[in-house]
């Protein structure tokens, strides 16, 4: 049973629209992550947070932004969506290195 929730599950949106992908976890994990993944391909870290009011950019440059105002909530925002943003976005959280990450079900974004 997932303790980390992503909404929406699928999103089709027009170019230029502002979108927010939601990610919430109920496990009290202090560390949270956003990955971008094309179908069947590798994961690319785009943002991470190690606690409230702490956010960093990942290895893959992204036009998205994130915020971490509450421990359980880590939303990702695209101010102006473009077709190049079409991808799957995965949210994950962790607390200890030896436990790995817990993932949400992902948001599949299509920008037309």
């Amino acid at each position: 049973e997932a303790d980390i929730y992503q909404t929406p599950r699928y999103l089709v949106i027009g170019t230029g629209k502002k979108i927010t992908l939601e990610c919430s976890q109920t496990m009290g994990h202090d560390k949270m992550y956003w990955y971008q993944q094309d179908p069947g391909m590798e994961l690319h870290l785009i943002h991470y947070s190690y606690g409230v009011n702490s956010t960093e950019k990942g290895d893959l440059s992204s036009e998205s932004t994130v915020s971490r105002i509450r421990t359980e909530h880590f939303p990702l925002t695209l101010e102006s969506a473009r077709p190049s943003h079409t991808s799957q976005y995965l949210c994950a959280s962790s607390v200890l290195r030896d436990r790995g990450y817990t993932f949400g079900s992902g948001t599949r974004l299509t920008v037309v």
């Binding site: 997932a2 992550y33 590798e42 995965l90 290195r97 790995g100 817990t102 993932f103 992902g106």
Partner: protein, 115 residues
């Protein structure tokens, strides 16, 4: 910098048979953790099995087991009695004390189960 390599982009196995997925990694650390994750089509990524580097005993979870060779920096996943539900992308991942709590990921192996 640490790296994780999965040299098999795709593997196929007959249902009920055994398959081994390869993973090698590069690190100068002595204390770290290794993971195998499973990502079924259009479904959530889940943790399959984990291994602590300081433990010599290979981890086992039901039909899933690993062959951990620390000196060779190898961490392969063996799936016994393959089932149709095992079809998925499998990712190998590493985390060490210098990784800032970030998993280092392999590129993934797509496993196809033939009925």
């Amino acid at each position: 910098a640490q790296t994780v390599t999965q040299s098999q982009p795709e593997m196929s196995v007959q249902e009920a048979e055994t398959v081994t997925l390869s993973c090698t990694y590069d690190t100068s650390e002595s204390d770290y953790y290794l993971f195998w994750y499973k990502q079924p089509p259009s479904r959530q990524m889940i943790l399959v099995i984990r291994q602590e580097a300081y433990k010599q005993q290979n981890a086992t979870e039901n039909r899933f087991s690993v062959n951990f060779q620390k000196a060779a920096k190898s961490f392969s996943l063996k799936i016994s009695d393959s089932q149709l539900g095992d079809a998925a992308m499998y990712f190998c991942a590493y985390i060490g004390l210098d990784s800032n709590y970030q998993l280092i990921w392999g590129a993934g192996t797509k496993l196809i189960i033939k009925p």
